[in-house]
């Protein structure tokens, strides 16, 4: 059984349902002792900015800010697509805890070493 798990997320406030469920599944992965990452790309990178997710709270789920913080607290990492981040003029000094801006090589390395992945 693979020990690495990636959740790929391309949505933010343009689909808060998908953004929320992605982090719920990421929490299941990290809770199951998987080395876990959430890869944020295209619109998803906005979630990496401090404060952005504060008002996202889907019915029936914990607030997204809480889901993200719990994921990181349990050892999960958030990879943020560098070109997507730069394109949107976001601030790398205002990243949420656990987030790191990465290029494609970092993602490819993670996925190439027996990782499973799911996309939202």
């Amino acid at each position: 059984m693979t020990k690495r798990f990636c959740v790929s997320l391309t949505y933010a406030k343009n689909d808060t349902d998908k953004a929320t469920v992605a982090f719920v599944v990421a929490n299941a992965a990290v809770a199951s002792d998987k080395e876990s990452i959430v890869f944020l790309s295209t619109e998803g990178v906005r979630l990496a900015q401090k404060g952005y997710a504060d008002d996202i709270h889907e019915q029936g789920f914990a607030p997204l800010r809480e889901l993200m913080a719990n994921f990181v607290k349990a050892g999960g990492k958030i990879y943020v697509c560098s070109p997507c981040f730069k394109k949107r003029g976001l601030d790398e000094n205002k990243l949420v805890d656990g987030a790191v801006v990465v290029g494609g090589a970092k993602l490819v390395e993670f996925l190439s070493e027996n990782a499973a992945s799911v996309s939202y």
Binding site: M1, F23, V24, V25, A26, N27, A28, A29, V30, A31, S32, D33, K34, F61, A62, L67, N70, F71, A74
Partner: protein, 87 residues
């Protein structure tokens, strides 16, 4: 602390060290919180969980297989889990 009733063919009645009624919490939220509670126990101690989420009967056995905790008894919504030996 309540006792978890023995079921036919299973080990004698055990007294869980801790218990938690998770209500309708499910999926990643449930197992992430459960993880913290299980790791707070000593190896071999038992945890009684009540989980009413409809996914729990499939999720909890899978989670136990992946993490090494032992699902001693499952009678939805009641579950008895033995903490793993490893840290």
């Amino acid at each position: 602390m309540s006792h978890f009733p023995a079921t036919p063919g299973c080990a004698a009645e055990v007294s869980p060290r801790e218990e938690w009624d998770a209500g309708t919490m499910g999926c990643g939220e449930l197992v992430l919180e459960l993880r913290e509670k299980m790791l707070a126990l000593r190896p071999g101690e038992y945890f009684r969980l009540i989980a009413r989420d409809p996914g729990a009967p499939e999720d909890l056995p899978a989670w136990c297989r992946m993490t090494g905790h032992r699902l001693a008894q499952a009678n939805h919504p009641q579950y008895l889990i033995e903490r793993r030996k490893e840290p």
